[in-house]
């Protein structure tokens, strides 16, 4: 007897059963954990829900949290469309932040105020793209595994950033504490609705739309998809896969860089500790929960941000570790993986003698 995966006669699950299939085991796993530490699961989920959506302030904070997630989610998604694994969004985010901070610190006050924000956006994008450049070149030239190379560059970027704010960029007026000086006003991203929601939100939404359009409705997008789905077909069609790989990874890195720019110039207003807190890795979850669809990315980012902000409330109110949101994220990703398979296949127990040639 053994388990056998079979293709279903009519493939595809409806959206409602699919959602249930994903949500139910995830919530159940969380409930089991809450029980394990002696908490009431229903009450715990209620606290999380209230923490994420209980009032306008909490909702706005979910949006704030979602901004970097949207951008890194898009970054992972666009690369994955071409079967490229950009695990290096964290480093690209940091490098985008470094570039934006460098510009804001040393050039912004010399420029007319209206010019600063657009240049900051460019700097953030350029920083992220630059950090993706070496893995991209290695991949295109020698087919060097980008999972490891981008991952290793994450560590390097964080060390570089620390060196900068502990060393040459340290605020001379900061009494020796780590962190750069606060940026000049013109380099602060505008905020909206008296909350911390900043320009990054609109940059992220714009990027999602732009990617959706260019991936789905342009010849470039068509090429990227073809190269991703079938490198052989791409070769027949004479697409230059290498050049596209570089382009896609640069765009991907740039998007992550924008996320870093948004955090640095929209929230921290200086370069300091607390920038590399895992948005790059969360972006991978966002991208796959969104099935690599750029339009779905912002929605999934919101969901994940809600989970994180809600989990934090659980910690504040009920003293349960906020890491429950990580557990739920992991389960969510596993459930999605399984659901993707089960929407087209089913698992059957077969006896060995039953199996034909």
């Amino acid at each position: 007897m053994r388990l056998k995966l079979e293709k279903k006669a009519h493939s595809g699950l409806r959206i409602v059963p699919l959602t249930l299939m994903i949500a139910a085991p995830v919530l159940l796993a969380g409930a089991v954990l809450f029980e394990a530490v002696g908490a009431d699961p229903l009450a715990a989920y209620a606290v999380m829900l209230q923490g994420a959506l209980g009032n306008w302030f909490n909702c706005s904070e979910v949006l704030v949290k979602a901004i970097p997630l949207m951008l890194t989610g898009l970054a992972v998604a666009v690369a994955a469309r071409m079967q490229l694994w950009n695990i290096g969004c964290e480093g690209q985010l940091v490098c985008g932040g470094i570039f934006a901070a460098g510009f804001a610190l040393y050039a912004a006050d010399a420029l007319p105020a209206p010019a600063v924000i657009p240049i900051l956006i460019l700097a953030g994008f350029a920083g992220g793209a630059l950090w993706a450049l070496i893995p991209a070149l290695l991949k295109a030239r020698w087919n060097v595994n980008e999972i490891i190379s981008t991952l290793m560059f994450n560590y390097v970027a964080v060390i570089l950033m620390q060196h900068l704010y502990f060393g040459p960029w340290r605020d001379p007026m900061g009494r020796g504490f780590p962190g750069t000086a606060m940026f000049v006003r013109s380099a602060w991203l505008p905020r909206f609705f008296h909350t911390r929601i900043h320009l990054g939100l609109f940059i992220a939404l714009g990027a999602a739309l732009l990617l959706y359009y260019s991936l789905g409705h342009t010849t470039w997008g068509y090429r990227v998809t073809v190269i991703g789905l079938s490198p052989q077909a791409a070769r027949y069609a004479n697409f230059d896969a290498g050049r596209q790989q570089i382009a896609v990874l640069l765009i991907s890195g740039g998007l992550a860089g924008l996320a870093g720019m948004g955090e640095v110039c929209g929230i921290h207003l200086r370069l300091q500790q607390g920038l590399a807190v895992g948005y790059g890795y969360d972006g991978i979850i966002v991208a796959f929960l969104a099935y690599l669809n750029p339009l779905a990315v912002p929605l999934v980012a919101l969901l994940l941000a809600g989970l994180i902000v809600g989990g934090e409330q659980l910690q504040a109110v009920a003293h349960l570790p906020a890491s429950i949101s990580m557990v739920l994220e992991g389960c969510l990703l596993l459930a999605i993986l399984a659901a993707t398979v089960f929407s087209t296949h089913r698992l059957r127990i077969v006896r060995d003698d039953e199996e034909g040639p």
């Binding site: 490891i148 060196h163 570790p321 992991g330 596993l334 698992l347």
Partner: protein, 307 residues
């Protein structure tokens, strides 16, 4: 000379976790399954090992607990990758996220508690051995046993039918299947083995190296282990070399500070292990298989008979 012995001793002692995890990953990858869940499995193993040893007052049971907990995560990964033919990269990442979250969530009450741990073998006749005495005295039994895993795995991979099966399942599963190799079972076994080794690696941290449970105590060593497999070009002996080199670079970084010699700025030294890994990765890829070793041909690709 004393300096040298000391550096070697530190290196030996700080590398077993990376070594164990990368040996496990190596077998898993040789069987064709990429396991990016090592970091999560290590954390779960570290917690489970510490807690089991503490509750049962037995180090051996602690190790079993670590293997069991991490092994369960590995089975989950194997089920998704082998039976469901799901994407191995995402599945591995999911396992890492899940493992990190689980260990942090369940481990909160154990932060800072003291429990059992392996102590160093010094203070006995071992101290008196010429040359290697002072070196060995600072090691513990667990760490030394880890070294034994290297020749064992070399023998297994190179000289036994099981090793042949494993290599076949990772190299060309279709051909292996035709030759009667139970590819699915082999891949399950390899992934499970990888998980158990990652669990042991975690337990090395929580029971031997820095005794006690600390949130996120692996500090990225799981990822380093994965990189080390490429560094090792899928060969156990070179995995040992990689783990030692990594331990050495780590030790050197502080050694320079402590001695007050600064040949290279500390932050550059700190970056070196990561940059070196990328460097070796490039070399391995550019020089291709015949020179250095073999990238398992079907690594990361699901296998099914029908297709």
């Amino acid at each position: 000379m004393d300096d040298l012995i000391f550096i070697v001793a530190i290196t030996l002692k700080s590398s077993p976790a990376v070594l164990l995890a990368s040996l496990g990953e190596l077998i898993s990858e040789r069987g064709g399954i990429l396991n990016l869940g090592v970091e999560g499995m290590m954390l779960v193993g570290a917690l489970a090992g510490f807690v089991t040893a503490r509750q049962s007052a037995s180090l051996a049971l602690g190790l079993c607990g670590a293997m069991a907990a991490a092994g369960l995560l590995a089975l989950l990964h194997a089920f998704l990758c082998v039976h469901l033919r799901a994407d191995q990269v995402i599945s591995g990442l999911a396992v890492t996220i899940l493992g990190t979250g689980l260990s942090s969530f369940l481990g909160r009450p154990f932060i800072g508690q003291t429990g059992l741990h392996f102590s160093s073998i010094g203070g006995t006749w071992i101290d008196g051995l010429p040359l290697i005495g002072p070196l060995l005295a600072q090691q513990n039994l667990f760490g030394l046993l880890c070294l034994a895993a290297v020749p064992a795995l070399m023998y297994l991979l190179g000289r036994t039918w099981l090793g042949l099966y494993i290599r076949a399942a990772g190299q060309d599963p279709a051909a292996a299947d035709a030759a009667g190799v139970p590819v699915a079972a082999i891949r399950y076994g390899c992934t499970l083995f990888g998980g158990c080794m990652a669990g042991l690696a975690g337990a090395y941290l929580s029971l031997a190296y820095t005794p006690g449970w600390k949130e996120g105590m692996t500090g990225g060593q799981g990822w380093i282990a994965i990189a080390m497999v490429i560094f090792a070009t899928w060969h156990p002996l070179r995995a040992l070399l990689g783990a030692l080199l990594f331990g050495l670079l780590n030790a050197l970084q502080f050694y320079f500070q402590a001695t007050g010699i600064e040949l290279i700025p500390a932050y550059i030294l700190h970056m070196l292990p990561y940059l070196l890994t990328v460097g070796v990765l490039v070399l391995v890829t550019v020089l291709e298989k015949p020179v250095l070793g073999s990238v398992p041909g079907a690594l990361g690709k699901p296998f099914s008979r029908e297709e």
